[in-house]
């Protein structure tokens, strides 16, 4: 069991998401950086979809009420266990009573903003519609359907005794870099209304940088850049949308739907950030810029296969390492 001493703001319990409920009007939720969550679960030999705590605001502090193996993945937030400095993306054992403190991520070799506290056997909260993710809009899932508060107590899942402390994982973000002209980039598929935008707007989408404004959160990222204009005014009925969809409201400044997006909307869609690259946005700091790289359906599937290959390989090597009594 862990007790939250300092919750910061908007820390939530998340797994890989609540897929398959869009038809019920329920968005996907889930970790903004699914690679960090999955990496943590591989490191701790948890089941792939075990839940962890997503931490976007610091400082964040918890006390382990029982001994457990844990790892902090995602952003490097100078974690300390009592007074001892910890490595990011590393499996450690905490004894009962020890306090874990996370501080503001420093810009190091990888700019990231969200940390994930993963514990052996995962965070045990009730499964709602197939997921442990917090659905903030509907106030269900996760821990009581809300962000964590000081004093909250969270339990770990049924112990399987498989986690081994004493080693780490390479953050996958370092081995999957993607930039355009030195600016962090994501790959985008043209969406249904792409052809309804002017040639110069289409050109601007691919060739200019987009600033992530302060009006950006788990629901969506509002971007600032060149104004994107439709060839003529578009009026659409509301229709289904998914995380990654780039909408262009009347002002011409795009919004990227993120994990907590509502499942329908009526703005024209100029593109869709591919699923394999959503984690890059999930870690992009407010105020930073992002570029869009046009990609094909096959390239989008290939990118997802690359991510899955990385995980399969990591899981295989972790099993080999732990199976050989490598953990000391």
């Amino acid at each position: 069991m862990i007790k939250v001493l300092t919750a910061g703001a908007l820390a939530t319990v998340q797994d890989l998401g609540r897929t398959g409920a869009l038809n019920l009007g329920v968005g996907t939720s889930g970790a903004m950086d699914p690679l960090a969550l999955a990496g943590g679960n591989i490191l701790l030999r948890n089941e792939e979809n075990a839940a962890a705590i997503e931490i976007p605001v610091f400082p964040f502090k918890v006390r382990f009420e029982r001994a457990t193996v844990f790892a902090v993945t995602g952003a490097d937030c100078a974690a300390r266990l009592d007074e001892t400095s910890l490595l990011p993306w590393w499996a450690y054992r905490a004894e009962a009573g020890q306090v874990l403190s996370l501080s503001l991520p420093k810009p190091g070799t990888w700019r990231a903003t969200r940390a994930y506290l993963c514990i052996a056997d995962g965070i045990d909260v009730p499964v709602v519609l197939g997921s442990r993710s917090t659905q903030l809009r509907g106030s269900f899932g996760g821990h009581e359907g809300r962000a964590l508060r000081d004093g909250d107590e969270l339990r770990a899942g049924r112990p399987n005794g498989r986690a081994v402390p004493g080693f780490g994982l390479m953050p996958p973000g370092l081995s999957l870099p993607l930039q355009a002209d030195g600016v962090p980039a994501v790959r985008v598929l043209p969406a249904a209304e792409y052809d309804c935008f002017t040639d110069s707007s289409q050109e601007a989408l691919w060739s200019t940088a987009w600033k992530i404004t302060a009006q950006s959160d788990r629901y969506g990222y509002r971007l600032a850049g060149e104004v994107l204009n439709p060839r003529r005014r578009l009026e659409l009925r509301s229709h289904g949308i998914v995380p990654g969809v780039i909408q262009v409201p009347h002002g011409g400044q795009p919004i990227i739907q993120m994990r907590d997006a509502q499942p329908s909307g009526g703005y024209p869609k100029i593109g869709t950030v591919i699923e394999a690259d959503l984690w890059r946005l999930g870690q992009a700091p407010i105020g930073s810029s992002v570029r869009f790289i046009r990609c094909s359906w096959d390239e989008a599937l290939g990118a997802l296969a690359d991510v899955r290959h990385w995980f399969a390989n990591a899981r295989r090597l972790v099993e080999l390492h732990c199976g050989e009594g490598g953990g000391r």
Binding site: D76, L87, P88, W89, W90, G108, T109, W110, G166, F167, G168, L169, M170, P171, P172, L174, S175, W310, N313, A314, L317, V318, H321, G326, R328
Partner: protein, 139 residues
């Protein structure tokens, strides 16, 4: 059971053939260290070759891998020359694909030399650090 000491010649041939720097076998009564310096393979008696004046410990690679003197998310070496380290603390890392293994300090002490360059591939047993232990402290 066959005694490895009876097969030193064969083990030496394999060591050279595989281009491995060190073979170390530890048993309850005896230790065998075969060191391959490229030219020849020889049996080294005892633990580590030590100089009488400065009793230092050479810390070797516990696995083949890419030697990293810092965590990949950090921009500074975790234990540069002259750094004081506690027993068990990582001096550096070995990257094996997506895995990151620590090179732990066997004893508390001061790093007096770093023998491998950041980012180079090292074999099992390759010397990585020289550590001057602090008197009276053991792991």
């Amino acid at each position: 059971m066959s005694n490895p000491l009876d097969h030193v010649d064969q083990l030496g041939t394999w060591l050279k053939g595989a281009d491995l720097a060190l073979l170390e076998l530890r048993g309850p009564g005896a230790n065998l260290r075969l060191v391959n310096d490229g030219a020849s393979v020889r049996v080294v008696e005892g633990e580590e070759p030590k100089s009488v004046d400065a009793p230092t410990i050479t810390v070797g690679a516990s696995s083949p891998g890419i030697f990293l003197d810092r965590h990949p998310l950090h921009d500074r070496a975790i234990a540069a020359v002259a750094a004081d380290v506690r027993a068990g603390e990582p001096l550096g890392f070995l990257q094996v694909g997506p895995l990151l293994l620590a090179v732990p300090a066997p004893r508390a002490g001061m790093v007096t030399d770093v023998l491998a360059a950041h980012g180079t591939i090292v074999g099992y047993g390759a010397p990585l650090f020289v550590l001057q232990p602090i008197e009276g402290q053991t792991s």
